[in-house]
């Protein structure tokens, strides 16, 4: 997530409408996995670098995206402990990622324009 629309989302439900959070987290997860195959905890770490969330909440998203066919998983041996489950993005997932990305860009830019407009008027 090094593009110009990087954001910081504050912690706490008074700020984060859960539905909204889920949408953003899904996009982040899709983007991260589309760059490189990752295993669960690696992903959780990567997401927490961008957004301050409970680490447990990422897994349900992974599970759902896998169930819906956007990801596939494979096991790979690790040096430290049991084999790890890696997530790989499917063609369907790439399509979904692109769509979500466009949606987000549209949404974020229109909100930003609005906020800038309000700030100018103040």
């Amino acid at each position: 997530m090094h593009n110009s629309h990087s954001i910081v989302l504050a912690r706490g439900d008074n700020f984060l409408n859960t539905q909204f959070k889920k949408g953003v987290l899904e996009l982040l997860v899709l983007l991260i996995v589309s760059e490189k195959d990752k295993y669960g905890y690696e992903l959780v770490e990567a997401v927490s670098k961008i957004v301050d969330v409970n680490e447990g909440t990422i897994y349900p998203i992974l599970k759902r995206l896998t169930n819906e066919g956007y990801f596939e998983t494979y096991l790979e041996e690790s040096n430290e402990g049991p084999p790890r489950k890696y997530y790989h993005i499917t063609a369907l997932g790439k399509k979904r990622c692109k769509e979500q990305n466009v949606e987000w860009e549209k949404f974020a830019s229109s909100v930003n324009t609005f906020i800038k407009g309000v700030n100018k008027n103040e």
Partner: protein, 493 residues
């Protein structure tokens, strides 16, 4: 909370899933926590960072499209229909996703528009009637025709005006203005969520000022809605109260319909097949249930699934329509016999001993008389009737008036529904799809000797004369219980 505690709690919450799935999830979370611990956190911290177990379980279950038991579970009825309505859902998307408030506001505004249109009719009517009377003032013939044309023209213009006005308002309110207002409203909500990076970096004071700005923004947006919203809230409360009372009625209706359905099962067991009627009853019953569910949800603030209710009620109306159709066919195939071939096959009889001062309640000249010398001084009252669906009982009563004894006689009908015998006959006829409709007439024949007849005739004449000379208004009818009118028989008072 320790790792073991966390995992066992999670396992318990996920117990609805397959064992292998649970193992998969648990091992994944175990991996997370272990990895986090290996990177330097304490176990406690690692568990804490996973978040709330309930939330997690809910999210996980929703990944399998399962609602967690904490949420309101869908009833099975809904689940069955859900599949069928998936396509329809998209069509009614706009309405299904609107809250009740929005729909209510929509309806209120619609009513308001109609009221305006109705008020606009007044000037039209005035112009119309003025023009009409002007035409009439010129006289008849062609001017009358012109008056009618004038009337028609104005009505037509009003119709066009009403339709155009409605469309115009509707377009601007709901397709333009309404939508844009809603978007602003929603954006104002979402705005809280997103704060641009550079702005939040400043933190502290500047963030507070952003919050203040947002508050103002929201208040401004709220102003546009507050009047309407509070009115809508008030209306909603009022409607809830009314709905509650209707709910009570609906409960009674559903109970009544259940009994009726039970009765129709009895009919089916007895072999009476009028499926149209049963279908109508069933559809009405379902409609009652639907009304109950939607009212209940409305009163107790549960969410109504609009599209499901819509589909089901449409289904009910479809059933009702089919029922009426089938009913028509079935009734058309039912033979109705107006004149029972058995005729007046039953009779009831009673006898009364003749007295010197006896007068009959009904004028003897209006009755059918048969002479039978063997009766001596007895009068026999014979009632002939058709006993297919009912039985009669003869009744009489004797009253004294001016030294005369007046014999009132009549019959009561015991209707078939009260007697199993008649109900069974009725059911059998329905089974054969034949109904006997007799006019329910009961013929009375009086049997007496000739001398008795003459005596009665004489008594009647002299009694009538007595009553005629008397002021009828002086008679205390309440004490009599009956009103005697010499030529027209007896009326119950």
């Amino acid at each position: 909370m320790s790792k073991e505690e966390f995992l066992s709690q999670l396992r318990k919450k996920l117990s609805i899933l397959e064992e292998s799935e649970i193992e998969d999830i648990i091992s994944e979370y175990e991996g997370y926590i272990e990895e986090k611990v290996s990177k330097g956190s304490t176990e406690e911290e690692a568990v804490l960072s996973m978040g709330n177990v309930d939330e997690l379980a809910k999210d996980l279950l929703s990944a399998y499209k399962i609602k967690s038991p904490g949420e309101k579970t869908k009833d099975t009825f809904n689940t069955i229909v859900d599949g069928c309505i998936a396509t329809f859902d998209r069509v009614v998307d706009v309405f299904a996703h609107k809250s009740f408030q929005e729909i209510l506001r929509f309806i209120l505004e619609l009513v308001f528009i109609f009221v305006i249109i109705a008020i606009c009719k007044i000037p039209f009517s005035i112009i119309e009637s003025m023009g009409k009377s002007a035409f009439y003032a010129f006289g008849g013939g062609a001017f009358r025709v012109l008056a009618h044309i004038w009337e028609f023209l104005l009505e037509f213009v009003y119709l066009i005006f009403a339709v155009l006005f409605f469309l115009k308002i509707f377009e601007s309110r709901y397709l333009g203005d309404f939508v844009s207002k809603r978007v602003i409203h929603q954006e104002a909500k979402k705005e809280d969520v997103v704060v641009e990076k550079n702005e939040s970096i400043k933190k502290g004071r500047s963030e507070k000022s952003i919050n203040l700005k947002k508050e103002k923004e929201r208040e401004e947006n709220a102003k546009n809605f507050s009047v309407v919203d509070s009115f809508v809230d008030l209306c909603l409360l009022f409607f809830r109260m009314i709905a509650f009372f209707i709910l009570i009625g609906v409960v009674c209706y559903v109970v009544g319909m259940s009994i009726t359905i039970g009765l129709s099962f009895y009919f089916i067991i007895k072999g009476v097949f009028y499926f149209g009627v049963y279908l109508i009853l069933f559809a009405l019953f379902l409609l009652g249930i639907l009304a109950f569910v939607s009212l209940y949800n409305f009163v107790f603030k549960h969410k109504n699934k609009g599209s499901v209710l819509l589909i089901l009620s449409l289904l009910c109306f479809l059933l009702l329509g089919i029922g009426v159709g089938v009913c028509a066919i079935e009734f058309a195939s039912t033979t109705i016999v107006y004149n029972d071939p058995n005729g007046k096959n039953a009779q009831e009889t009673f006898t009364y001993k003749m007295k010197d001062n006896l007068v009959l309640g009904r004028s003897i000249t209006d009755e059918t008389i048969e002479f039978d010398e063997s009766l001596n001084d007895e009068i026999q009252f014979i009632y002939h009737y058709n006993d297919t669906y009912f039985q009669i009982e003869t009744r009489y009563d004797v009253r004294k008036n001016n030294g005369y004894e007046i014999l009132y006689y009549w019959h009561d009908i015991e209707r078939f529904v009260y007697h199993k015998k008649y109900l069974d006959t009725f059911l059998n006829h329905l089974k054969e799809k034949t109904l006997y409709i007799s006019d329910g007439d009961v013929d009375v024949t009086l049997k007496m000797s000739k001398s008795t007849y003459e005596q009665l005739l004489k008594n009647e004449e002299s009694f009538d004369d007595t009553v005629k000379n008397e002021n009828l208004e002086d008679i205390d009818f309440n004490s009599l219980g009956y009103y005697y009118c010499p030529r027209h028989g007896v009326y119950h008072h």
